[in-house]
Amino acid sequence: MKQNNFLYTLLKWPITATVFLFTSVLQADPPEIKPWFQQAVLLKSYQQSFDWRTPWEKREIRTQSGMALVVRLPVSVRISVSENGNNNNLYLLTTAEIVSDATLIEVTRKDIRSPFQAKLVLMDYAANLALLQINNSKFWRNLRPVKWTPVKSSTDHEAKDIYSLKIKSQDEWTMESGTIDRMAVGHREVSNAWFPLLRLNGISQSGQGYPLLQDNETAGMILDAGTGEAKAMPAAMLLEFLKHAGSNPYRSLAHRGFIWSRLPQSSTYNHFQIPPEKPGIWISRVLPYGTGSDVLMQGDYLTKLGKWTLSHDGKVEHPDWGISLFDLLFLAHLKVGDSVKLEVIREGKPVVLQTKVSAYEENSRSVPLKIVGTAPRYVIEGGFLFQELTLNYLRIWGANWQTRAPMRLRLFLEQNKAVSIYENNKTDISSTGTKISSEHPPRIVLVSQVIPDPLNIGYQKLSNAVVLQVNGKQIRRLEDVSTAFLSPINNFHRIDFLPGSERLSVILPVAELADANQRIKNNFRIPKLQSL
């Protein structure tokens, strides 16, 4: 054993050196940097998000840096903006994160020192993509759009090698090398969206909006990078975004229309009358949007999506990426609008469903997920600050909001198993088979705080109380509050809250309300008493 160790040590270094030399020779030269001077620009954004605790105020300004890539929209795509400073349908593509809630976006070309001001024309926050325009022809001079090429499968060893830019200063642009780890399905929690994403290794110097190069061609855009790992949106999804950038209203990328589970064991198959040998996935919830949402039912056992057979863990034999989660089919094989057949076992019987591939939709839920670029909505009456419950509101409890925000409010968000308030003011756990209406899901309206005033003495401890009724009228969205305040009962306004709140009802006198509102507005320097 000892002798073996000695032999290993003796041979270890020469073997390592040989492998290193061999791989160095095999590794292709880095892509040329110069063409990127015309295809990518530096971006700096000044962001100021809204303060959801004091919704008429904004938070501190923060800055972010990254890149934007010059892109050309297809000729057919027209975005209705005043002027874009060029006649070639050129725009800048970057991430939504870097430009959301921006007060100023500056982009700088490699060869021109002074920055140009960019304007956000389209943002898909769920996909983390944004499109910018610059109304200055000087900026667009000699710029060329990026040529996108689909990512080559990483099953090919050489295709694993990738590059991205590394910007040390405006003058010093170099390349950084890395490898593709895999094509994965990324879950963007702030939007609850699943999209195909490339996972990269070795990329740590590049950042948001940087190009991803494979075989000297642009195969994607980095969404975020750090500590040797990065995520990138593959070119196929970017092209899809650009193709539909002009749609009115904008529609997002192709997306699944359901949440699924793997059936745990044979007794479960037996219970659902599904042959255990039949591969497939169990639909645990149907989303209000996305592929299959119009035809699937909770409890369906999905066995085939188009021509692809699903395995017990939701995987298909992907033509390019091998055995992968079925969401990767949205890369190239299933496009929004395509007809697709879904084969399911429903109540023990095989059923074939016909549907069309459809896209992600934002905020078609009772507790909207992260809202960007829009001021918080609120209504103030008698010092009572009414707001709708959103993910933004929950996040005012900081990074640990999932443990620090009030438990009852978190419950409304809990894996969409929200305990919701239904018609007759009682609460119910949303029934399993019910599909949430995507058109007007009821919102949770809160009195988030009571702004102190002589009128509301005795009520000032109230906070984060879910409003059930105002003047006997059911409150299902913020607009209902304003409407209900138009109908007082016997010269009083009455607000009723969800049991468990600090108090369950408050009374405000009609006669004194207008004066109190004005007093509160002046005293607390609130620009307006409602923002809807």
Binding site: L263, P264, H271, I457, G500
Partner: protein
């Protein structure tokens, strides 16, 4: 010099002569008091003991197991009938109790005679009668005056000898008792140092015990609390029949009527106090007597103000004080403003519903049922407060359901706390905190009910299906395999009993 001056003054100044005698009298009384204080103190000190508790609490994650034994130190003092009064938390989950007298190395074995977890009080008795020789029990006093001086005795950590500290009564009010976790009772705040180990020791004034030191606020300086005598007397009266029934509760939630507009809205007569009833707890004392929207204006002969306070001793405390000094079964006279009229009502006091689930549990081994390697328990405060268990679904079932949807909470909330991996449950091994709503389509009311349903399952049953309102996918096990593998699962994980259910706790389910 002074003697001469006194003589002179006495001789020539009749007025001074008169005052001299008064001063002399005061001085004599003072001397008598001074000489009596050491004796009194001495007897108090002799009657304050160090209590060592070797305790062992159950492991709620693996309810058939016990946690390692630990040792705790507290204090106690002798009252009448050779009883030692202390805190419940000093003697909870006890396996062996030792009592030491002042400056004595000799430990005496003691037993718990009665324990009141809701008011954090307990009575002990030392087995050896020798222990009581030459000891004088402390008399129980009353409610001290605000700002009056008090003295706390006990055995706080950091030493073995008796500690004596002094302070003043700084506040008398209702507050949360940490030991049960949810109960609020009258407590007295003092700036006399009360540290861990002081618990159970007497707080005295004029040679009488006026309370039992029991908790402090670690976030504040010089804030200690003691349990006042009325609550101690209530405890002693409660156990007279040999059983502790608990502190009754009215069972309502109220909101203040400080806001004048709300009072106008209700049409309350001017200068009428009163507090608004906003929730009547199902199955409580108030259920069927008080109504939501009533304004509670009077309790017994005490007027309730708009913040819900009544006059008590020198200050205002919450009206609940009138219930807490009574026994379960006692009646309480109320006056309410209902639909524009004053109405007199009487309610019979009861223990709070779901008290055992809502309070911290002690001195009780957890109930559990194991089936197919799934470990079922009934959700309670101990479990939900264990690390990682305060999840929104459990919180909803434990706290919010009954508040938001009255009378929908089952007798117990049954959950699968963990899975003991075995072939029958493969695929479920990571399952945790699965809330069981039904078994083969029938609602599960309690752990005992679940066990009974499983026992009575027809032999031809193929699958047992545990449904949940919170989990879309039910938990399904093969019935026959679950039975076949039951003993091997228990053996594999070293579990002696497949279930532990207390019959007396689950009368309704039997």
């Amino acid at each position: 010099m002074n003697g001469f001056r006194c003589e002179f003054l006495l001789k020539d100044n009749p007025q001074f002569r008169k005052y001299f005698w008064i001063i002399l009298l005061i001085e004599c009384v003072w001397l008598a008091l001074v000489s009596s204080v050491p004796a009194s103190q001495n007897s108090i000190e002799q009657s304050v003991f160090r209590i060592t508790n070797y305790q062992q609490s159950p492991d709620w994650k693996s309810p058939w197991k016990m946690k390692p034994t630990s040792q705790g130190q507290g204090s106690g003092f002798l009252i009448h009938d050779n009883w030692i009064l202390t805190n419940a938390h000093v003697v909870s989950d006890s396996r062996m109790l030792l009592v030491n007298k002042i400056s004595s190395p000799e430990p005496f074995l003691a037993d718990v005679l009665a324990i009141a977890h809701d008011s954090d009080l307990a009575l002990l008795k030392v087995r050896d009668p020798k222990f009581y020789q030459d000891l004088k029990p402390l008399e129980l006093g009353g409610i001290p005056e605000l700002r009056s001086r008090v003295r706390a005795y006990g055995y706080p950590v950091g030493g073995k000898e008796l500690s004596r500290t002094e302070g003043v009564v700084s506040r008398i009010e209702f507050g949360t008792y940490v030991h049960p976790g949810i109960d609020s009772h009258l407590l007295i705040q003092t700036d006399s140092a009360i540290n861990p180990g002081n618990s159970g020791g007497p707080v005295t004034q004029s040679g009488q015990a006026i309370g039992v030191a029991f908790q402090s606020n670690l976030r504040l300086n010089d804030v200690g609390y003691f349990i006042p005598v009325p609550l101690i007397n209530r405890f002693l009266a409660d156990i007279k029949d040999g059983r502790y029934d608990g502190v009754p509760e009215i069972g309502i939630e109220t909101s203040s009527l400080i806001n004048q507009h709300y009072r106008q809205y209700l049409g309350l007569p001017e200068d009428t106090g009163g507090i608004l009833v906003e929730r009547v707890v199902p199955h409580s004392s108030a259920d069927g007597v008080l109504l939501i929207g009533d304004v509670l204006t009077k309790i017994e002969d005490l007027q309730i103000d708009a913040a819900g306070m009544v006059r008590y001793s020198e200050q205002q405390v919450t009206f609940f004080i009138e219930a807490e000094n009574r026994q379960i079964g006692d009646s309480l006279q109320l006056q309410v403003w209902r639909k524009g009229k004053f109405i007199n009502l009487t309610l019979t006091l009861k223990a709070p519903p779901f008290g055992s689930e809502m309070r911290n549990s002690y001195d009780e081994l957890p109930e559990y049922v194991i089936f197919g390697g799934l470990v079922f328990i009934a959700l309670n405060r101990n479990y939900i407060h264990s690390p990682g268990n305060i999840t929104p679904p459990l919180a909803y079932e434990h706290w919010y359901r009954e508040i938001e949807r009255p009378r929908t909470r089952h007798e117990q909330v049954v959950i699968v706390t963990r899975v003991l991996p075995s072939p029958v449950n493969s695929g479920y091994t990571n399952l945790h905190n699965f809330i069981v709503s039904s078994l083969n389509g029938k609602p599960v009311r309690s752990l005992a009910h679940l066990e009974k349903m499983l026992k009575n399952m027809p032999p031809e049953t193929t699958n047992v299906v545990f449904g949940s309102e919170w989990h879309k996918i039910p938990l399904v096990l093969n019935f026959k395999e679950s039975l076949e593998q039951h003993n091997s699962v228990l053996k594999r994980y070293g579990i002696i009993d497949g279930s532990r259910i207390y019959a007396d706790k689950n009368k309704d389910s039997q």
